[in-house]
Subunit: 408 residues, 2 copies
């Protein structure tokens, strides 16, 4: 589908990195550039633009003017610093084309549309610059207050509210329709579809994720003369904890995933033993009991191992994202649409977070995956073949058509 | 000595931190403020100011106008981010007062002075913002080119040349006299004087230091779905290496010191397995053979341990600071001056780097220590009692007097 591939290529130029990836952190000039172009695409297609206070950007097709209901589709335009060309943006761009295609089909079938249809870009899905992630969709779903969302600050102390205001995306025109369903199309970012040679996954729900950020408190000293036995090196304690997390997960036979990917070291000078270090840890598994067991063992172990070298620790943040069950009706719909189109579809839970998981808290939501080559994501080499993207687009369009026209 | 304590208190207000320490990184507005005040103190005392191209700032007392020789004393006004109130600034301020005192004594003893005398503040001793450390003194000694010094850049890519130019301290008036000796007074930053209940150390030389910064190269991926066995986590490899360094040093019976105090993680986002991490390691010992043995074992071990998890490594920088022998005549002079003043003096090697070690490469240099409480340094709680500072000042003054008036 040339229009889709062309749009993806155009957006990939915004924040393009030398290694073929993109860097479009939320609230930056690059984010603004992508939003501006998306807004232009919305206007160009005669969709009605709406921008809410947290910067979620909608394009509404008034398919059924008598209805106050709207079906939504979309994803996010922001990326990780080492982002690929598909993560998020694929769902937004396939979404706007699918909205257009459904509108054409409605025009060819007068009276068929019973609901309106909107494409949406959610603010700060990635959580790279501002934590927590899924910010715009969580505010939309009522799970996060606008005030708390605005107050999230980046490493330099700039708040999300300030950043959005600076790029002109604290909107005043929220979506007026009543959302009755949401469908998100995304690249898998794992390798299960590829391993199973599947075309489409109807995602049934999400693993549980626990995000714990730990502050290690030692003491500052000169790296030279301070006797080794007297050092209270917070960076050493953090280093032990990072390795400990991997070991605790490896010793857990249930197959959990875990990571430590962000660290903040004070003062981070070559000649000062670090006195204060914060590390962001994540533990993921389908079963909450497994996440709890690993994190309990992990926290006990790092407290002991840090204590051995005179470093104390405290929990700076502890977020438990419960395992989500997505709308079962949506799963059935996606499977049936995919089957009707002749694609090989399967169902499994997602390990990654997605806006659909946040939206599910207030609106029945569906999540559709297409394969990712090698399961590689948050990496400039992220890749999905054009034909595989097209299958996702076709399923999305069919699902949206059925949702907009369904009698119930 | 009230004037000394008052001056220390005044300078401690420049870049004062909430916890009682100071943060005066080289080339910042705070550094400029300290330099400006020091320049004012120089002018106030009728000393002749000189500023060279790397920003070393001198105040010359013309004690023997017929002589082209100058004896120098001083240290540095810059600090670590978590600096104390004495490190560096003590030697500069005791120095300017000692220059003044020697000048008064020369006035009372006409014809006694055979050489001129200067106090100096060396640029970027700490190496916190710009590496390598000892920048100004190394350029002065001819061990580092001005071009290379200017090109050192901070974490944001600002060069030292740009930073000095921005604060107006790329000078055009280098010292015109011929330096024939240098004496630096400093707090010990270790606890050997305190342990021995000594007043003064005449430092005989320095330990060897090897500074190795290692780049760990893994691959970026999503922290969620990527199977644990396929992750190539550069932060995990770095964490293993930090712990490995401590273990290798502990297994070395000779008593070496080592640290890993600075880390740079890319992209440092909570949801991206780190693909590239750099860590700054240091290994210190009196004997070069010990440093070599530990670093060889360490590098082999981390290459193997990183390789096990798919992470490659390369040496980004490897600086070997040879063990230095300071001027033996200077050690004897300091010991004799201290003894004549009734102070308990001892001699040992320094573990920390100091400008005197750089200056020794071109000018006979001496280094005098006074005790540090608990050996604590690069810490806001760094402390030396006023009476202990006074003893250092008294020895410095006596040593400078003897150097300025000596016949040989």
């Amino acid at each position: 589908m040339t229009a889709l591939h062309d749009l993806i290529a155009r957006f990939a130029r915004i924040g393009a990195t030398d290694d073929g990836g993109v860097c479009r952190l939320a609230g930056t000039a690059r984010d603004k550039e992508a939003r501006d172009l998306f807004l232009h695409e919305i206007a160009d297609r005669g969709l009605v633009p709406r921008i809410d206070a947290i910067g979620n950007l909608f394009g509404v097709a008034m398919l059924a003017p008598a209805s106050t209901d709207v079906v939504m589709t979309g994803s996010h335009l922001d990326s990780q610093p080492t982002g690929g060309r598909y993560d998020g943006v694929f769902g937004v761009l396939a979404g706007i084309l699918a909205v257009e295609a459904v509108r054409e089909r409605c025009r060819a079938n007068p009276g068929a549309a019973r609901r309106n249809l909107a494409v949406v870009n959610w603010t700060n899905e990635e959580g790279a610059r501002f934590q927590p992630s899924l910010t715009g969709s969580s505010v939309f779903a009522g799970a996060l207050s606008l005030k708390d969302a605005y107050a999230c600050s980046d490493a330099e102390g700039v708040t999300l509210g300030e950043a959005l205001s600076a790029i002109g995306y604290c909107g005043t025109t929220p979506l007026e329709h009543n959302p009755v369903g949401y469908v998100e199309l995304h690249v898998e970012q794992g390798d299960r579809l590829e391993q199973a040679a599947g075309d489409i996954a109807a995602v049934s729900g999400a693993w549980m994720t626990r995000k714990i950020s730990v502050m290690f408190e030692g003491d500052y000293s000169h790296t030279g003369p301070m006797p080794m036995a007297l050092r209270r090196d917070a960076l050493r304690a953090a280093a032990r904890a990072i390795e400990a997390l991997y070991q605790e997960v490896a010793s857990e036979t249930a197959g959990a995933h875990a990571s430590a990917a962000r660290i903040s070291v004070h003062p981070n000078s070559p000649n000062v033993v670090a006195g204060r270090v914060r590390v962001w840890f994540e533990i993921r598994h389908e079963a909450e009991a497994v996440v709890s067991a690993i994190s309990d063992r992990f926290l006990k172990r790092i407290e002991r191992e840090s204590g051995e070298i005179g470093v104390g620790l405290s929990i700076a943040a502890d977020e438990r994202r419960a395992g989500t069950v997505l709308d079962p009706g949506g799963v059935a719909l996606v499977l049936s649409a995919a089957a009707d189109l002749g694609f090989k579809a399967m169902t499994f839970k997602t390990i990654t977070g997605h806006d659909a998981l946040a939206i599910q808290k207030s609106v029945p939501s569906s999540l559709i995956f297409v394969p990712s080559q090698g399961g590689l994501s948050h990496n400039p080499r992220e890749f999905t073949a054009p034909a595989a993207l097209d299958k996702g687009y076709a399923v999305l369009t069919e699902v949206l058509w059925r949702m907009v026209t369904a009698k119930a």
